[in-house]
Symmetry: C2
Subunit: 336 residues, 2 copies
DNA sequence: TTGTAGGCGTTATCAC
DNA sequence: GTGATAACGCCTACAA
């Protein structure tokens, strides 16, 4: 026996239209009818068919998030799971679901967006890992699709985005080191073509500018955001340096490991403030990104975007958290 | 102007039924008609509406995977991304998509399965992180839902599953250590209530049995699969031991770190063979799980389950990979 | 081989 | 307030 809206209508002695109204909280239903219908719904344990609703409303309630294949790090990244958790929480509060998918290894990244759009599988996208010149964004714009980017375009392009203040964060961290008289700050940056890297590099430069210092480009290294990358870049750097600023906490941890092996003791600052940052030895000075807030805000913006045609553009503040690793002789801390 | 099957039909001068037949590769369409229709489809760039198809066919093509909230480690777990990648690849080959979702923090884990089932959002589930007594499985069985479990029931219960030979793997690793005359093997196991932990404990016990040795239960510790957990359990263990067998490579790495600090040099074996295992110092002896194959096989089984009512039950072989960490005096390796 | 038409389950528009 | 009824876009008997 199939259970659908008309079964309920029949049992309740009303029309399907009325049941639908009850279901959708329409005000134009008498209290009495509403209660009668509700009772039947509960007794039958009826739940509306989501697919039929989608067909009718042309909305699936699914938000697509395609995880770039090029960056396995997002999964290594303790950070990412927090982002997802918060976004999921916010979305499900309004009846949306995250449709997470991994990019296909050897396919043009745009294809999966095309498929999802063509088949009308999702209502909107969350774009991760914004590139300097991002073909996914280009594509979605030509298709007039809804999306929110995590990250901020570097060329002032008008796209809906949420980002943390990467430039400001780098500025704060580097200024702190410069104030401490560090003058040769090794900057372990992320991949060169990612907008996040570009913003942080701008902060690095700006801080030097403020102090009237010139920047030697050879101190800016591009790697991936992993611990391993931080370790290797530090270890293989040829030349003197008196501080390290890393674009992720994992990289900073790698740098600390390398420094220890090199028996070199200079201030280190990371980026993110992942949970481990407070637990390493030495504890990590770092730029805290409000990752929960990012997850929440992205979800919130997507919903706003879908339900009221808003065009979100937000930069969230970051904060420099001072711990042991940025202090000279931080190795001493281990003796406690 | 809306683009749907009847627009195409009109343009091509045929009925919607014929277009549908072409779309679905029905043999009963003349070559000529098919070509004519195809041409129109291409010119119009028509793509069938997935939601309408779902409504008609009662299949969404979505496979639900709910990531347990209790175990943030799945995201720390470098392993998990490989699993997802392979599963996704296999699924999309047959037109399915993975619908990944994070479990809601403070909600009964079963609820999200209920929601997905009620609303008919997914065709089947992949269950991760099987518990000894798993209410999700119970629930899905009562609802007669399709699912495949990654992991093997410990009580012989009949459920569709894919698992690696956890017991055999532990058996091999522990036997190897016993053969080396180790007699006090510290076993850093995963959470006690997870089936994977129970299988591995069985392997540990079995190996001892084979050597006619009794097992001291105090040598079996339960933690989480993280590096930190391995480190702490090793460091805080009170009592002598002459080898370590860890239930994950991350834990093994934590154990190695602890041993180094304790200036203790005993063989260590891990589990998984994550990419880093070959790159640590010392390199890690470990039980290799064919993770790509697990991802592929789970996806394959889900499809088989959906399309031909099969009931998959498969245990995939594992292999002991001998590297440096299991050899006594492995610290020497660092001098090269 | 092809076309007609009903139905999948819901919601929105229009009457009453 | 409530009830018919027509879509939404597709597939599949059944008929031709």
């Amino acid at each position: 026996m199939k259970l659908n809206i008309s079964t309920v209508a029949k049992k309740a002695g009303v029309s399907t239209a009325t049941v639908s109204r009850v279901l959708n909280g329409s005000p134009s239903v008498s209290k009495k009818t509403r209660e009668k219908v509700m009772k039947v719904i509960e007794k039958l344990e009826y739940v509306p068919n989501h697919v039929a609703r989608s067909l009718r409303s042309k909305k699936t309630g699914l938000i697509g998030t395609i995880i770039p294949h090029s960056t396995d790090y997002v999964f290594n990244f303790p950070y990412f799971s927090i982002f997802l958790r918060e976004a999921t929480k916010r979305l499900s509060g309004d009846g949306y679901q995250l449709l997470l998918t991994i990019e296909e290894p050897d396919e043009n990244p745009v294809e999966i967006y095309r498929t999802f759009l063509d088949r009308k599988i999702v209502d909107a996208f969350i774009i991760l890992d914004l590139k300097e010149k991002d073909e996914r964004v280009e594509f979605l714009k030509t298709r007039d699709a809804k999306f929110v980017v995590v990250g901020r375009a570097v060329n002032g392009e008008e796209i809906p985005f949420i980002d943390t203040d990467n430039m400001g964060g780098a500025f704060k961290a580097v200024s702190y080191l410069l104030k401490k008289k560090c003058r040769k700050i090794l900057f372990l940056n992320g991949p060169a073509n990612q907008s996040v890297s570009i913003w942080r590099a701008r902060g690095y430069l700006d801080a030097h500018l403020k102090y009237g210092l010139e920047v030697d480009d050879s101190f800016i290294l591009n790697g991936s955001f992993t611990e391993d990358s931080g370790y290797k870049m530090t270890k293989s750097f040829e030349g003197e340096f008196d501080a390290v600023f890393a674009a992720s906490d994992l990289m900073a941890m790698g740098a600390l490991k390398a420094l220890k092996e090199m028996e070199k003791d200079v201030p280190v600052i990371g980026f993110d403030d992942i949970p481990q940052a407070a637990m390493t030895s030495p504890t990590l000075t770092t730029v805290r990104q409000p990752i929960e807030k990012v997850g929440y805000t992205v979800a919130d913006s997507i919903i706003a975007c879908l339900e009221s045609e808003e065009f979100p553009r937000k930069v969230l503040d970051v904060e420099l958290i001072i711990r042991e690793s940025s202090e000279v002789n931080h190795e001493d801390s281990k003796k406690w």
